[in-house]
Amino acid sequence: MNKVVALTGNEAAAEAMRQINPDVVAAYPITPQTELMHKFSDFVADAVVKTEMILVESEHSAMSACIGACAAGARVMTATSANGLAFMWEVVYIAASLRLPIVMTVVNRALSGPINIHCDHSDTMGCRDSGWIQLYGENPQEAYDNIIQAIRIAEHPDVRLPVMPTFDGFIISHTLERLEILSDEEVGKFIGAWKPVHPLLDIAHPVTYGPLDLQDYYFEHKKGQAEAMKRAKGVVLAVGKEYGALSGREYGFFEEYKTRDAEQIILCLGSASGTVKSVVDGLREKGRRTGVLKLRMFRPFPAEEILSAIGHAKSIAVLDRAEGFSGLGGPLFPEVRSALYGRSDAKVINYVYGLGGRDLSPEMILSVFDDLEEGRITDREAVHLGVRI
C-alpha cells in the first residue's frame, strides 16, 4: 500500500533508512548529505529505530566502523558526499573486497578542488572501480526506492557486495517532491531478516577478515569479486521486478524513454534525465525522433543491454557530469562506446556538462539534439556544454 508524501531527496533517503532500521550507522557530516543524517539522528533519539549510531571523527573512520560492525554481524548503513567519499577511498575498496553488504547513500557533489558544494558526479565516478554496485536515482522517489532495493541486492547470497545508491546534491537532495512510500511492514517483509554470513565471534565457525593475500590467492579473490559483480546483474533485475510487484514501480538497469524508434538518443545519469525527457517530449511533438536512455545502474555496467536498447540509433550523445581528465572526456562515454563498438553504426559523441552545479538548461539539450541530427560534431573530442572557455 503506497502512501503519498512530500519529501526532499535527503528526507526520502532518511525515511528509507528508518524503515530499513539498520543495526549500525556510522557517519560524519558533509554538505549536501548532512540533512539526511540530521533526520536519522532524530529517529535514533526518538527511538523509532533500534540503530546504534556512531558519530565518528572522519569519513575514513565512518567506513572503517561500518566494516567492523558489518564483519561483527550487523546490518550497516552510512551516507556521504564528495570529499567525504574521497577520504574514505582506501576503506571503500576494503569493504568490497571483504564482501561486506554495506549500503552507503552518496549525495553527489563536486569533488574539491577548487572547493565547491554543488552537484556533479566526480565523487562517485572516483569509486567506479572500487567494486561497489552503483545505482543512480533521478528524483526523491528513486532515491527512496533504490535504497530499499540496495539492501536486498547487497545481501543476496549470489552477490554479497556493498551498494552505493546515489542522487544529485541539492537538485534532488534539497528539492521537495511528491513520492509514494511503502508501509513499514511492507519494507520489513521485502528486505527480510538480516542473516549475517561468517560473522566474527561465531566461536563454532571462527573466521579471519583481511589476512595477507599474496601471489598465492589474491588473483583468485579478485576474480571472485568480479564474478560476483557479474552475478549482481541478475539479482538487480529480480529485485527490481519484485519491488515492482510490491510498489507498482519496477526497476531495471535503465529507463528507456521514447528510444524504441528514436534516431537521436541522449544517454545520461541522475536528475538531468528529467530535463532531457521534457525536451524530448517537445521535439516529439515536432515529429523529431528523439529519446533518452536514463542509466540507473552504472556498476556493474550493463553493456549488452545498452547495445540492444540504443544500438539502432543514428547518433547518440553521452552526457557526463564529470571530467575524466583522460583527454577523451568523461568516464561514462568510453564505456558506452565500447558497448556499441563494432556492433552498432551509431555515431557516439561525448558532452561534459554541469560541473560544480552548473545548470543544464533545456536549450543546451536542444543544442545537443540539433548537433546530433545535423551531424555537426565530427570531432572525437568531448564538447563541454555551457562552459565559457
Partner: protein, 255 residues
C-alpha cells in the same frame, strides 16, 4: 602597515553570520601582526575547511585554503621549504581537533615551528551545527538531539604531553587573546592558541542563548584569566602555560 591594511574591506560583508566570533579573532591577529611587523613578505596563513578556515581569505597576506583536516601538514610543507616564514594556521575545532587531530599531535611532538590558532566554537559550524570533538557533555546539537554523550577532546593535555606552547583565550577576553597570539608568534617552535568563540546561529541559538552578547557574557562569567604563566590551566581558566625546557623531557622508553 596599519591594522586595516591587513584586512580586505572589499570582501565585506564576510561569509560569517552576524555575531560570529571569527571576526574578533582575525582583528586580534591583525593587531599582533602589525605590532610584530609580520607582513606579506614574511608571513603566510594556512587553513583547512570550515567557517573559521575561511579567515585567511579576509587577510591581505598570502594563504593556502587547504582541505578538511589537513592544515597542519600543509603548513609543515611550507615551513620546510621556506623556514624563514612565519607560518600561521587558523582553523576550527572540527578541523584541527577532529578529522585532522593526528597531525596536530605529531607537529607538536616534532616541535615544528608553526603557529596554530584554533577557533573553538564547540560545533561544526559550516555544516549547520553538528556536535564536534569539543562539544561539552549533555549539549544538544543536530546530531545529538538527546544531549552529547561523548567527552570533549582535552586539547591542552595533548599539546602539553610534548611540553609545547599552549595558551587558551576567549573572544570576550580580547586583551588576553591578543597577548596569547603575540606570545605564540614570538615563541620559537610549535605553538597553539585555543580560542573559545561563539557560534550564535548553529550552536547558541539552539541552547537558549538569544544572541552573541549572551554567549560572550557566559565566557565572561565562566572563564577566569590566570595571572602570569602557569603550568596547566584548569578547565575554566584562560591564560598562557609555561613550556618546560625540552631537554628535560624524559624518554618514556628509556629504562
Amino acid at each position: 602597515m596599519s591594522v586595516r591594511n591587513y584586512l580586505r574591506p572589499e570582501r565585506l560583508p564576510t561569509y560569517w553570520c552576524p555575531g560570529c566570533g571569527d571576526g574578533l579573532v582575525i582583528t586580534s591577529m591583525a593587531e599582533v601582526f602589525e605590532e610584530l611587523h609580520c607582513d606579506e613578505k614574511n608571513t603566510v596563513l594556512v587553513s583547512g575547511i570550515g567557517c573559521a578556515a575561511r579567515a585567511p581569505g579576509y587577510f591581505t597576506l598570502e594563504s593556502v585554503h587547504g582541505l578538511h583536516g589537513r592544515a597542519v601538514p600543509i603548513a609543515e610543507g611550507i615551513k620546510i621549504v621556506r623556514p624563514e616564514l612565519n607560518v600561521v594556521i587558523i582553523s576550527g575545532d572540527g578541523d584541527l581537533l577532529g578529522i585532522g587531530l593526528n597531525h596536530l599531535i605529531h607537529a607538536s611532538r616534532r616541535d615544528t615551528d608553526i603557529k596554530v590558532i584554533c577557533i573553538d566554537n564547540q560545533i561544526y559550524g559550516m555544516t549547520g551545527g553538528q556536535k564536534s570533538p569539543t562539544t561539552a557533555l549533555g549539549v544538544k546539537t543536530l546530531t545529538s538531539p538527546e544531549g552529547n554523550t561523548d567527552r570533549p577532546v582535552d586539547c591542552q593535555a595533548l599539546i602539553k604531553a610534548h611540553n609545547s606552547f599552549y595558551a587558551r583565550a576567549t573572544t570576550f577576553h580580547l586583551p588576553l587573546l591578543k597577548k596569547a597570539i603575540r606570545a605564540a608568534m614570538e615563541h620559537r617552535g610549535f605553538a597553539m592558541v585555543d580560542v573559545r568563540s561563539q557560534c550564535p546561529v548553529n550552536y547558541g541559538r539552539r541552547l537558549g542563548y538569544r544572541n552573541a552578547y549572551e554567549m560572550l557574557m557566559h565566557f565572561k562569567q565562566h572563564y577566569k584569566p590566570v595571572k602570569g604563566v602557569v603550568d596547566r590551566l584548569a578547565h575554566d581558566e584562560i591564560g598562557i602555560t609555561s613550556e618546560n625546557p625540552k631537554s628535560q623531557i624524559q624518554n618514556p622508553n628509556s629504562a
